[in-house]
């Protein structure tokens, strides 16, 4: 009997089973015991037990009563303790939760970044081209250009860009656009070593990625075989210096392996891994921003190029040399380039202007048409464009309309002193386009391009569709 009662008043189990407090259980137990006591006295009377027997029973009952009292005391104490502990635990848990929450906040707010940080960026585009006179309409996968950026503290950054393209036959072409180490020497001086995009002018270094370029294709004279150098291998110091409150002066000065003579008498500025002569090219760009949204730039470059031999070195044909055929030796010529650019980028307006002119002195070099080394006359390349874009972000209330940006560009590429190049490339080019900006670096565009070739007056019209994404 005692066992069952004990079970009932054990804290926890008893409580939940009966839904009663321990005191109550105890009271009912006492009542029960008292009742039993009287009943037993009656029965004792009935059976007339001996005094000794009665005394024994009373003693047992007293002992049991004592036992229950004690266990009640311990249980109450225990439950009180438990309650206290629970309360303490709750306080602790609350504190812990608060600490954890703080920790999460702090972690996401000011956790120090690791010393080596990196970022994967780049861009991709795809499109289609429809020509109005002749030529096939083509879907064109444009570019996939991943950019890899690694930075160690604020000491150095590596930046490298690869360009993947497919050619007309479906072959994948890979090119290294740039791979350079930028040393942050000072707030106003960065030292660049490696292969970098040319700082000459503004299109190549700043505007050519298709998610930035409002037209999606280069202006005449600013792509391959143009006036604007693509890049160089060498060193460059660059930076910006504030002048007064809002004005800034910028500089990018480079020494590089410089240009090379191309096979068609052109000058190739693609950034060569080895210099072809002892004379490095020296150049750069100086910029001035009277206010942040207006920039004026001046660029220059001076280098030397060597004329080409007809055959590979050591592949001469001694028997072809006769006394009456005199062969010229390739010579070295100076290439000079200068240019000016301007940008106005305020609110919805984006205006760009750029002019570049290069002059190559007369040079003895292998001439494909003549089949021998010949004197090529002075060659002058001049290219310029003006471009105006206006984002409709401030017109009306339609957020759909706000995403459109009409753009117009007109430019001219002049070539003198190289008939072959002039025929192929000299032109005026008009572009009219419409950009639909889905996000700041995600655009779908349609454009119309009209090329008028200066040499023969030929006109080519093209419709361009393109989607570009910078990530």
């Amino acid at each position: 009997m005692g066992g069952t009662v004990l079970q009932l008043i054990r804290p926890g189990k008893g409580n939940s089973m009966m839904g009663l407090k321990p005191n109550r259980i105890f009271l009912s137990t006492l009542t029960f015991i008292a009742l039993a006591f009287f009943l037993s006295i009656n029965s004792v009377r009935a059976q007339e037990p001996t005094n000794q027997e009665l005394l024994d029973r009373i003693e047992t009952l007293e002992q049991e009563l004592q036992y229950f009292r004690e266990s009640l005391a311990t249980n109450t104490a225990r439950s009180e303790q438990a309650e206290e502990r629970a309360e303490a635990a709750e306080i602790k848990a609350e504190a812990a939760a608060r600490t954890a929450e703080n920790a999460v906040n702090t972690a996401s707010a000011v956790a120090p970044l690791p010393d080596t940080k990196w970022h994967l960026a780049g861009y991709a585009d795809a499109g289609a081209m429809f020509r109005t006179n002749g030529g096939d309409d083509t879907f064109a996968f444009g570019h996939f250009n991943p950019v890899f950026l690694f930075q160690y503290k604020d000491i150095v950054m590596f930046e490298g860009e690869l360009e993947f393209e497919i050619d007309e036959d479906g072959n994948t072409e890979v090119a290294l656009e740039y791979a350079q180490l930028d040393f942050f020497l000072h707030d106003n001086i960065t030292l660049v070593v490696g292969k970098f995009l040319s700082p000459i002018g503004q299109f190549k270094e700043r505007l050519h990625p298709t998610w930035i370029n409002k037209i999606g294709y280069a202006p005449a004279g600013f792509g391959h075989d143009g006036v604007q150098p693509g890049g160089d291998v060498g060193i460059m110091v660059r930076g910006g210096v504030p002048v007064g409150k809002r004005s800034m002066f910028t500089y990018s000065l480079m020494v590089g392996n410089g240009p090379r003579m191309g096979h068609e008498g052109n000058i190739s500025f693609e950034g060569f891994g080895k210099d072809d002569n002892q004379n490095k090219a020296f150049g750069g760009r100086i910029g001035f921003l009277p206010v942040p949204y207006l920039e004026l730039g001046f660029s220059f470059l001076k280098g030397k190029i060597d004329g080409l031999h007809g055959e590979e070195e050591g592949d001469a044909h001694p028997e072809s040399i006769s006394l009456d055929s005199f062969e010229f030796e390739p010579s070295t010529a100076t290439v000079k380039l200068w240019g000016a650019d301007a940008a106005y980028t305020r609110g919805p307006w984006d205006f760009r202007f750029e002019y570049l002119k290069s002059v190559r002195d007369p040079i003895y070099s292998f001439d494909e048409e003549e089949g021998e080394v010949a004197l090529l006359p002075e060659m002058t390349l001049t290219a310029w464009y003006v471009q105006l874009a206006y984002r409709l972000s401030e017109i009306g209330n339609s957020s759909f309309l706000h995403k459109f940006e009409p753009v117009v560009r007109y430019g001219k590429f002049n070539i003198s002193g190289n008939h072959h190049l002039e025929e192929a490339n000299a032109q005026t080019r008009l572009n009219i386009g419409l950009n639909y900006w889905i996000a700041p670096s995600l655009v779908a565009r349609i454009g119309y391009e009209r090329r008028k070739f200066l040499e023969e007056g030929l006109v080519e019209k093209i419709i361009l569709l393109q989607a570009a994404y910078g990530f």
């Binding site: 930075q151 604020d154 000491i155 960065t190 060193i235 110091v237 004379n279 490095k280 700041p440």
Partner: protein, 97 residues
């Protein structure tokens, strides 16, 4: 031409040695400093739309922003102190609520 080349090379090399020391002494951008964040917000609006559309703060996490903005320090010829303000602003504003 050669003198110029040597001059630049020498300047570059001495800079390479002195540079890391200088860079190391600069205070890192603090994305909890309200004054720096405010300066950064203004510089961001001034500088980051000069060449392309302004990219939204929510596009990248802290590390990506730190590096991308340092990249623009080179590309945009933006002074280092202005860059740290912009880093602080972007890292303070990129958290999704």
């Amino acid at each position: 031409m050669n003198t110029l080349k040597n001059l630049i090379l020498t300047a570059a090399l001495s800079g390479m040695i002195a540079g890391p020391g200088l860079a190391y002494a600069q205070a890192a951008p603090d994305q909890t400093d309200p004054a720096q964040i405010a300066r950064g917000a203004k510089a961001w609006a001034d500088q980051c739309g000069r060449c392309h559309n302004v990219r939204a703060p929510a596009e990248f996490n802290d590390e990506d922003w730190y590096v991308a903005v340092a990249h623009m320090r080179v590309r945009g010829n933006i002074p280092g102190d202005v860059i740290r303000d912009i880093q602080a602003f972007l890292m303070a504003s990129n958290k999704k609520k």
